[in-house]
Symmetry: C2
Subunit: 201 residues, 2 copies
Amino acid sequence: MAIIVDKAQKRRDIALASKALILEKGIQNLTIAAIAKNAGIGKGTFYEYFKSKEALLFELVEILMHAHNVRIEAELELAERTADKIKIFADFFYDAKSSELRELYKMFTGISLLSPQKEMTAFQTECFDYYYTWFEKIIEEGIISQELKPVTRQMTGAIFATAKGMFIISQTTERNRDLKHEIHSYVDTLMALLAYEGEER
Amino acid sequence: MAIIVDKAQKRRDIALASKALILEKGIQNLTIAAIAKNAGIGKGTFYEYFKSKEALLFELVEILMHAHNVRIEAELELAERTADKIKIFADFFYDAKSSELRELYKMFTGISLLSPQKEMTAFQTECFDYYYTWFEKIIEEGIISQELKPVTRQMTGAIFATAKGMFIISQTTERNRDLKHEIHSYVDTLMALLAYEGEER
DNA sequence: GTAAAAATGACTGACCGTCGGTCAATTAAA
DNA sequence: TTTAATTGACCGACGGTCAGTCATTTTTAC
């Protein structure tokens, strides 16, 4: 054997070294040569660690998402009302703390729509399931604590999708500029509708 | 002066001639040379009519959307219940009739997310406003006919966004496979919640 | 009136610069 | 000496440009 490097670690290092550049220029407007130079490696070395630019973005999203999850999980512990828990979830789509991950996620979604690849879909599914499980738990707690009507259970997927839809609209049109207000208003209105009022009709 | 061609018409002709190729291979996997050859024109001529591949997609979406609008408008005339009207709207995201436009729209959204351009955003905003105006009208009619609670008004944007969010999820993950069922189920549940029950509390 | 000449717009593909991706050569640790 | 790691020169493909060609209309000349 000869030089042994921690491939996984170097992968993460290269990805993190590229973060600012990707956020500044957008993955679409970057060349492999520029990314390699920025990370202080040769072009060939880049390909030793990543199959493509997209794979780099993939790695970066994964890293930042882990940090994000830790933060969210802590915040969720503190929330009591279901509406607040949902808002903590939706925070991702507008708050400043998530802006980097959100930008990367946006690019990631764009790539997924333009050229669906198995790996991408698998990863997106994994993320979806991860968050959706939490979300189901939140709704279930709301029902058990008699905050919400049981019918809410049937709407879990839809509520989950609404914030995403609003986000896409805010990013691709000139509407939904005040996303935070839009989402909060929606959550409050819906929660009022779903508020438990005693026995079901 | 010399040969005068109807530039706008030829633009449409080239776009329509490219439809099948784009749907088959995806805009991302096509070269300008291939598109030009397929349309029976020189590469230089392509640039005479379109600034880029994306502009071609743009044109194509515009054409197909017009046809789609005509169809939807006719269907909306026939529907009576608000739930049915909303479903006609949401049909776009899953029905076979819209599959071509839907695929193109998917690519279009991907490009919008990856490299937001003024023109794209303006066009997406125009589409959004067009459909949203209809949607508001549907909800308003539902409220006036006392089918729906007035509070529905506050949720218009969210309901509109939900189908879009579900669609994006269905396209980027392995979830929401039966989009039609998911959306219909959501609409029915929500309409039941929003059903007018007499005076507001 | 008409034929030649001039003018013009449509069209083209060879050409150029750039980029993604490969690989033979080099480096340096074991 | 062996071999993992690294590298950038190199290659083919692509996007985009532009000088030149062609077809038609307009103008000029008689």
